[in-house]
Amino acid sequence: MGVKNQKIKVINHIDELFNQIDISSNRNISFHHHLRNGDYVINYVLDKYKKEKVQGINLFPSAIFPNYSSILDLIKNGQINNITTNYINGPVAEFITHNGLPGKLKMQTHGGRARAIIEGKSEIDIAFIAVPYVNHFGDAVGFLGPNKCGSLGYAIPDSIHAKIKVLVTDNLINIEIPNPEISGENIDYILLVDQIGDTQGIVSGTTEITKNPIGVKIAKNTSILLNELGLIKEGFSFQSGAGGVSLRVTKDVKDIMIKKNIKASFFSGGITKYHVEMLEEGLVEKLYDVQCFDLEAIESLKRNKMHLPISASRYANPENKDQVIKDLDIVILGATEIDYNFNVNVTTDSHQTLIGGSGGHSDTASESKVCIIVSPLIKGRIPVIKDRVTTITTLGKNIDCLVTERGIAINPLRKDLIKKLKNTKLKIYPIQELASIAYGFTNIPKDIVKRDKIIGEVEDRTYEIIDYIYQV
């Protein structure tokens, strides 16, 4: 083993860590969410901030899941000032919706978060980074160890640019790690805990191919659209989320690829077993993985050389020269709402409650050649199309097509796509007309959006504030 970082201190208890660093002057703290709803580290660390009654905390978690209950405690105690994140769901989201924060909630994109940390716009004092497999040199990967979580993509900028970098692990090993995701040269402390989390908790409920007939119809329409646009061709690149409809599109695209003997160059983003399957069947050359959505994806990182974990910056930072999604041909994304200007909302529901956030939505929509929104036209009586979305997550200028079970709308800005579809048998409507079809079933919902008190803002990857979030 060569010359490596000798300054790393291994710490056995969080109290010992804060004997060495002052807790109350290190209030800008960050976490990653790769263990998703199975994470134990966030609650463990924040309990210490709770006990020490640290005031004025600014939190920079890459996402907030329902289990992150310590965040709620700290907010209720008035200890948290600002939260900057990419996605927020569950009790914390509901509480902020109704109460706001003393400071504000800033919703960034995955690429925007990486960029802000690298460029020093987000100044992080301490990054607490859960790692399931780390050696004494501070080199770490996410896809090994008893509580593995897959790619550590979102934590990489923090692991380089935070003032103090703390790896939190339950699995400190004594052997060299080839090609570590986290490079130990930047690491200051390794904090040992009993358990960083539960691997099972990383699986979200939606990572199965939909069998719902409406979802199947939407996926069918989408794959026909992609085919007619000539996008499914040798060497194309593709990203789809882990939603049931997106995965069904992936399956239908796969069928077309097999039929036409086409091989894709790469898939990017959140990776599932279905993407792995296509890699192992030789249908795609590479997987660029910023987050594993299921356990099969984690296992694949171990055995497949062309399944590559990448950092959030490499994935989606617009200032990164090697940004993967710059070369992305197609992205399939969801929407809670979409409006006549093609703006998309995945941040709040139609009651204005916070339920998510961009993640990589705006990043991939902005960079991809064609961005397709898939959604049922009506969800529980609420038409997906509105004249103005409740919250803009992704600007309409970056959205190209909306595919529903009853028809397709193409953004008028994409005259090239409209021209290519001149002779199609697909049902293509102006988006307002598609909305009228929905209203024919539902009637027009009363507008209930309140825009009185601002509690947060949506910051695009360009740093532009594209919308505000309001208290309900």
């Binding site: 009506i378 969800k379 529980g380 009586r381 609420i382 919902p445 209930i448």
Partner: protein
């Protein structure tokens, strides 16, 4: 005398009617703010079409469309009729 029809699946509603000496309509809905008045109107019209002036109606709505609400209520009314015989 009581009868129900429907379910609590998304886009459906569960309607329960009970004999009463006055007209009472209780609506719980995931889209109450957007469509509450409309749901009430459908229930009132359906009762009227069936010549019912007094009834206790509970509608637990999960975003059902008008014709779903109407058909669930009509089915409940028919079921109550059957149990009457």
């Amino acid at each position: 005398m009581k009868a129900s029809a429907g379910s609590l699946e998304s886009s459906d509603c569960l309607i329960t009617i009970t004999k009463s000496n006055k007209l009472e309509i209780v609506i719980e809905s995931v889209v109450l703010k957007q469509f509450g008045d409309q749901i009430k109107e459908v229930i009132l019209n359906t009762l009227k079409d069936n010549n019912i002036a007094k009834m206790h109606v509970v509608c637990l709505d999960k975003g059902a469309l008008d014709y779903t609400i109407k058909s669930r209520l009509e089915t409940a009314i028919k079921r109550m009729g059957e149990s009457h015989e």
